[in-house]
Structure formats: structure tokens, C-alpha cells
Homo-oligomer: 341 residues x 2
DNA sequence: TTGTACGCGTTATCAC
DNA sequence: GTGATAACGCGTACAA
């Protein structure tokens, strides 16, 4: 049997109220009384019953995060980093983290309704926004605190707190880098079309080419799936049709690794024959062979900052910044190759 | 304002009791009444208040998992896979997952006391057992359901439900494989000394050598940290002192990737000059250059099965198996090289 | 400084 | 079939 306030009250001779206040640190309780009570509490191994407390104070001290099912497949690295950032920052504020992985068959919104509508969390972290994201509508309508990793697609209004990476800039920097090495035929493997950030990257590519005086060619551009296998198959697709390409910009590191594998199977040297870049800078990028040029994305830090924003919102504190765009840093490694002849 | 039973009761004209029973699917309520009530509930967007329900029925429908702080650093892949397995299986049973990442300063057990003692979860999943693990003692003493990934170290009694991989066998298979290729000087990079599975792997190595008629040499063995950097530095350490080594067995893939990097920096060809193997078979292993020989470990599946075991325990069902040892499968790839001259 | 009384929203027991 | 009523464990206004 678990010890509860009542047990401590009986054993100490004080009322439940006094015990509650003593343990909660109220200063209107006699010092000796408090010590006595705390002594007994620790003897009994007292732990407050959290559901009861939550019901009473209407607060859970918990933030929620739902992992969409399609994320099981790709970008594990992304989610595990985000999760650790979110989890660490939450722990520091003594918040817990409630996770639900959405099961494939189920309506995505059910998980949100249970967590939010069921009062299991004080606020939500949303990741991987898509175009017309229904989760955001729901949370706005419920008037529950939430923060988002990723803004909406270009053209849509992002009227909510978010932290996003400036992937327009990131891809632009990659293209400028390749152009400065003398590349003129630069292919692009985009994320899936319905992801919010896809068009930003597409535009970054376009404008990067223009800034370098190069033409945009639609047949140099394909949509991938953010997986290694997607990089592999799309690189083959691209090279079958456009063998003149000397550089391939992949929109994440996993796809870039797949691209490298495809090149190597074709007997092409990564870097020397075809330059390759990724995006995200996951640990595997540095350890790839050759090491992968990429854009560093501070996912862990984004997770941390998101939670701090969220907790501030929950506590009704004013936020200094509610919409943050983080620049990515270009990391040049050997997969860039050298200056072109 | 959130709709509660009371609101539905008022609007429908029935009592809270009847509303509760109608929504819970009791069959002692009139069919028309039920439909009427369900209609109103959906109009009001009713969602049951979970903390209240939890308090009342003394069940949370939640399983807990605590991520130790040292795991932030290494083996992300391990934890993200485990987490997804746990999360998916939990979702299928309509359980949620409460995560706490232990903050570095805090006493590890505090997180467990809050989760378990605070009645936030019905049971716990424990991962990465260490020698003399205090978490297991605590949960046994609390008489709370729990399942463990990993048994205790050799010599200790594992009197609790677990699923572990048979890493004794796995490493033995690797050594046998290398020996069959003609290797006679085989180095080993172990996990940290205090991890429960370290000694199993050590013994697998020892017995694998003996089975192949090779001598065990303590100076061929070092302890790593399961990180890429640990593999890198330990490979250099090993090769500085024992340049005659022709094969290095690393106890996880990350370290193996670090070993490969060290070899390549020394101008040695992975496979041809020095064979390398890892353990776990994370996705990066297949995509390494050259692809990495390793032992496949079904972490995702282990996570799933652990949760199913745990939920069975919570529901007081009898388990057919409570202690499961899964064999690992040797995956031979190019980092093995070929037959030795 | 301490105690009494009440309510958070739900489910379960019992009577009608 | 349906409805009062109590209880889960806690926090807090108010009174003493």
C-alpha cells in the first residue's frame, strides 16, 4: 500500500491540510511541525499521487509530442535528436514528456484529441509541419499552448510560435558553394512535395543558381522521400537522364548517403567526379566515406528552445521571440571535391 | 471550457451516472438513450478527463521509460529504435508512453520514484542494465510491473522478466567467422566495463578464439565507450601497440565506424588489410564504405515484445515466456575482406 | 499556526 | 434502465 497524506496525518497527529502544506513548503507552518512531518513522510516513502494532484490543480506538468507513423521509417536521427532536446529541456524544468506514436490505421487527430482534450498535457510540441496542417488548426481552436518546429509553406500565414531552420538560405549556400567550385550542372533531390519546407529549399536552389548566373532546369530536379533508398534511386534516375551532372544537392543527409552509394556503384568518385551535399549534419555525415558536405542543423537545440518557449507559454509569460528562424551553417567536407578544371 | 459528463447530463436530461455508462458502453442502458447521449457528447466534443479517470480507477494506461543521461551521447540509434518499438506496440494496445530524460545532476532514482511512486504509469520498461542495477531493486521492492532489456551480468541472478540478445553467441560467431577467413591476430574493443552485457561479449570472444584453436591475449583487448570516437581512439591505441593485428572486433557499430576511420587514416584498407566488425546492424552499417560486417540485433522488435510482456503483466495475465534470449544473426559484408593468404 | 469543508471529474455501489 | 451518493488523493478558501 502506498503512503498518502492521510497516513502521514494519522502517524504525525496533524491534519491532512497541515501535512499537505508542510510538504508543499508553505511558510505558515511551524518549523518543528514541518520537520516532524517531513521525517515521517520520508520514513513512509511518501510520493504524491500525481493524477490526483493534476485533477486538483488542473495542471499536468507534462508536455506532449506525437510521432507520426511515417517518421518511423525515415529520419530517425532527426526525431531522436529532437526528442532528446525536448526531453532534456523538459526535465530541467521538471516537466515530463508524454509520447504517443501514431498507429498507422488510426486517425492522426485522435492522438491529439486524447492528449490535449483529455488533459494529459499542458501543451504540445508539433514537428514536421505539412501543408495545411490540421494539427495546428485543432490546437488553435482548442486554445491550448503549442509550439511548432517548422513554419508553414511559403504563401501560407504562420500565425503561431515556431522555430524553423532557414532552409532557403541553407540550400542557397550549398548551391553558391558548388558554383564557386566551378560546377554548372547541379542536380537537386527535394523532400516530398507536401512537406512545408520543401518549397523553401526549392526556391533556395533556384535563387542560388540565378545568383551564380546559372539556368534553372526543371529536369535537374526530382522529389525524394528523405530516405537512403530514396537518395539511391533518385540519383540513378537523375544520372540516367542527365549524365552531364557534376554535382547533386540532396535535401537531407540520408538521401545524400544513398546518392554516394549510387555513384560508387557506377564507378564514379564522390567529389572528384560528382560532388554531393546533404542537409542536417547528422553524425553519420562526418563519418561517411568520403565525409559529407552538408548544412548543420541544430535539431537538439531546437528541441530545447521549443520546450522553453512552450513552458513560458504555459506559464503565461511573455515571449521575447515567438517566431525564430535559425540559419544553417554550411559544412564543407570532402564530398564537395575540389575546384573544377 | 471543456465539456464534461455534467454538461452532457444537463443537456440530455439524464444523470451523470447514465451518461457515464452510456459512453462506457454498458449494456444496461436503453439503446435510444445511448444514441441520444452519444450524439450530444460528440456535439460538445466531449473528451474524458484522463487524470480524473486515472485517479478513480487507479490505472493510467501508460508505460514509462527513462532515458539515462549518458545515453544522450552514444547509441542514439539504439534508443530511438527501442523507443519506436516500445511506442508502436504501446499505441497498438492504446497505451501511452511517458518519457523522462534523466538530468545529469539529479539522482537517477528520483525519476523512477516520481513515475512509479507518483502513480503516473502502470509499469516500466528498463533498458541498458548495469551491474548491480538499483532500478531493478526498487521496482521489485515496489512490486510494480516492469520488464527489462538485458539480463544481469554473468554470475548475478536475473529473477525478473527480460528480453536480451545472446551477445555471447554473437561475438563468438564473429570470431569464428574471422578465424575461418584465416585471421589469427584478432583484437577486441569491448563496451564499458560496468555494462551488464560486456562480460558476455568478452566470454564469447574468449571461447570463440579457443574453438578456433587461437590463444586469448589480454593485450588484444581494450574497453571502449560505444561511441564513434571511442572506436577511433581505441583502434589507434590497439594498432600502435599491436600492429600485427589483422582483424578488429568492435562491440557496436558506432565504434566499428570509428575503427574504420582510424584504419583509413593510417592508409590501411578496411577488409583487405584489417578486417572490421561491429554489432547491432544499425542502418549506417549497411551504408558504410565499405559496408560493415556486423551482428544484427532486432532492437525495434525487442521494444515491441517488451511492451507486450509488460502489458500482460499489468493485466495479470500469465506469460508464456518471461525470460527471452534472442540470437543475433551474423551479417557478413565487405569489411570482412576475403580469405587471408 | 492549525483544522474544517469542499471540489477537481470520473467510476462504482446500491437502491429504486 | 436509471439516479443518488460516495470515493479516488490532493490543494485551498475560510474559519478558528
Amino acid at each position: 500500500m502506498q503512503a498518502k497524506l492521510k497516513d502521514i496525518a494519522q502517524k504525525s497527529g496533524y491534519s491532512i491540510t497541515t501535512v499537505s502544506r508542510a510538504l508543499a513548503g508553505y511558510n505558515d507552518v511551524n518549523q518543528q511541525t514541518r520537520e516532524h512531518i517531513m521525517q515521517i513522510a520520508s520514513e513512509l516513502g511518501y510520493q504524491p499521487n500525481l493524477p490526483a494532484r493534476q485533477l486538483r490543480i488542473q495542471r499536468t506538468h507534462t508536455v506532449g509530442l506525437i510521432i507520426p507513423s511515417y517518421d518511423h521509417v525515415f529520419s530517425n536521427e532527426f526525431f531522436s535528436q529532437l526528442l532528446l532536446g525536448v526531453g532534456d529541456a523538459a526535465s530541467l524544468e521538471r516537466y515530463d514528456l508524454l509520447i504517443s506514436t501514431q498507429v498507422p490505421g488510426e486517425d492522426e487527430m485522435d492522438a491529439y484529441r486524447r492528449m490535449v482534450g483529455g488533459n494529459r498535457v499542458d501543451g504540445m510540441v508539433i514537428a514536421r509541419t505539412r501543408q495545411n496542417d490540421p494539427r495546428i488548426e485543432y490546437l488553435k481552436q482548442q486554445k491550448r499552448p503549442f509550439v511548432v518546429n517548422g513554419r508553414r509553406a511559403p504563401g501560407e500565414v504562420s500565425d503561431f510560435p515556431y522555430i524553423d531552420m532557414d532552409s532557403y538560405n541553407g540550400i542557397q549556400a550549398v548551391v553558391a558553394h558548388f558554383a564557386s567550385l566551378g560546377h554548372q550542372q547541379i542536380g537537386l533531390i527535394l523532400p516530398p512535395e507536401n512537406m512545408a519546407f520543401t518549397e523553401y529549399r526549392h526556391q533556395g536552389y533556384r535563387d542560388g543558381l540565378r545568383a551564380a548566373g546559372l539556368d534553372y532546369r526543371p529536369d535537374y530536379v526530382v522529389y525524394g522521400d528523405l530516405l537512403r533508398t530514396g537518395g539511391y534511386s533518385n540519383a540513378n534516375l537523375l544520372l540516367d537522364r542527365q549524365p552531364q551532372l557534376t554535382a547533386i544537392v540532396a535535401c537531407n543527409d540520408l538521401m545524400a548517403l544513398g546518392v554516394m552509394r549510387a555513384l560508387q556503384e557506377r564507378g564514379l568518385r564522390v567529389g572528384a567526379d560528382v560532388a554531393v551535399s546533404g542537409y542536417d549534419d547528422i553524425p553519420a555525415a562526418e563519418y561517411a566515406n568520403p565525409p559529407l558536405t552538408t548544412v548543420h542543423t541544430p535539431i537538439y537545440e531546437i528541441g530545447q528552445r521549443l520546450v522553453r518557449m512552450l513552458i513560458a507559454l504555459i506559464d503565461d509569460q511573455a515571449l521575447d521571440e515567438t517566431q525564430i528562424l535559425l540559419p544553417g551553417a554550411l559544412i564543407v567536407r570532402e564530398s564537395s571535391g575540389g575546384q573544377r578544371g
